[in-house]
Symmetry: C2
Subunit: 231 residues, 2 copies
DNA sequence: ATCATACTCGAACATACGTTCGATGTCAAG
DNA sequence: CTTGACATCGAACGTATGTTCGAGTATGAT
């Protein structure tokens, strides 16, 4: 029979934990005690209960008394931490609708909602957004070329933005400068009739534009993500 | 029978959907019918059931018959699509264990794993990582100061890294240069006995170091995330 | 041998929870 | 005024599910 390894997790602990993960992932809700038993070769509900209590003691799960399927996963077997307020709604997908290049205007999502093209999207944890930010309406662009380096944005970076046409001071925005035929990412400041576009790189000088009508705000940058492709 | 094409969602549909989201996020499992009722001012369980069935018809949720809390969220109110199977495992939390500053060595996670300190973490969708990358063992640092601008990394940025001591060519790594007492983020290249550290900014010159023993690789950069705090 | 501890079982119990149904109220269409 | 689809309610019902308990089997320490 099995040794009594009081230290660490026994085979049954692991099996249960693994099943909890799997079931939750497949169904979106936790399994019942009996379902756990059936899938881990434990015949008695009380034994499952027994191990569940231990797992709670060991901080792998949390349980809600007298609540069906009231099990909350805290960590996976490998120790990955499942955010306290977790899953489902805390992640969403933002469509990558195009590229952002210095020489072209920023593509903006067409007015009516197209759910199309699920392939090209990027998953974001909501916790990455500022608290107030709605996830609705966001879109993402892939940066092409190194013309945005003064915005600390590199070729291949992904910028997540919200379409707006009116910026507030201090926001980083994508603007189209009609006199230069140029798209750029800058911090936006409006000061006594003029517009100051401040590069993210503090060593660079701002652009001052006297005629506000030449500045077309395309969107507000919410997030910049750079994936490193390990060689 | 045909499903009735309602123009949209009524107030109660929305309330229920919103509560489903909230409850699931807070508890890790779906609410019971009665709990839904209590929180959306619906006194009868049958009415809740009534709306739940409609929401299923409209493909907002899925239900499991005769299963307590057997509700699966398919889309949120905003239409965000919740991955059918996934969650839990498709998102994980990386602990932010410190700052990265030019003048100090990079803090590396202590040998034994400390799980605690749930407060300071950052949630990452696994899809953001390179396919092979394990999520285990990763840690994150917050960049302090603008000394990393030549790595296209700014004050406040968050870098997600994997602790390594041996880099491969082309990887972006955090290195401690013992001769300069300086931490820096660079692309790593080893070429005939020398080490070339290439800034991300293509306009900047590389650093060539003849004595490899002065280069202490601390970790490999996996991801850089910049949250824009909208003014 | 004796005892304590860890583990296992099955059964009984109480209730949390999904389901069903009859009754009532609205309101626009016929 | 009916009629019928929609919305709402409360109550009753059956069962899915968590909880408890008494008892049995190991294994190691005393």
């Amino acid at each position: 029979m099995m040794a009594k390894m009081r230290a660490g997790l026994g085979e049954r602990h692991k099996n249960i934990l693994k099943f909890l993960e799997k079931f939750q992932a497949e169904n979106g809700f936790p399994p019942s005690i009996r379902e756990i038993g059936e899938n881990t070769n434990i015949s008695s509900t009380s034994v499952v209960n027994y191990y569940l209590n231990q797992l709670e003691e060991l901080n792998y799960i949390e349980r809600e008394s007298n609540v069906s399927r009231g099990i909350r996963l805290l960590r996976t077997l490998e120790g990955n931490i499942v955010g306290a307020a977790q899953m489902v709604v805390d992640m969403f997908s933002v469509p990558i609708i195009g590229r952002i290049v210095a020489g072209e205007p920023v593509p903006v999502p067409s007015s009516d909602f197209n759910y199309y093209d699920q392939e090209t999207g990027i998953d974001i944890a909501r916790s990455l957004l500022p608290p107030r930010e709605k996830s609705e309406g966001l879109f993402a662009l892939e940066v092409q070329g190194d013309s945005m380096i003064d915005a600390m944005v590199n070729d291949g970076d992904i910028v997540v933005m919200r379409p707006i046409t009116q910026a507030e001071n201090g926001e980083m925005v994508a603007v189209w400068l009609s006199d230069r035929d140029e798209t750029t990412l800058k911090y936006f400041f409006q000061e006594d009739g003029r517009i100051r576009l401040q590069p993210a790189n503090p060593h660079m000088k701002p652009i001052i534009i006297d005629n506000p009508s030449q500045v077309h705000v395309q969107g507000k940058v919410i997030l910049v993500i750079r994936k490193m492709e390990g060689a």
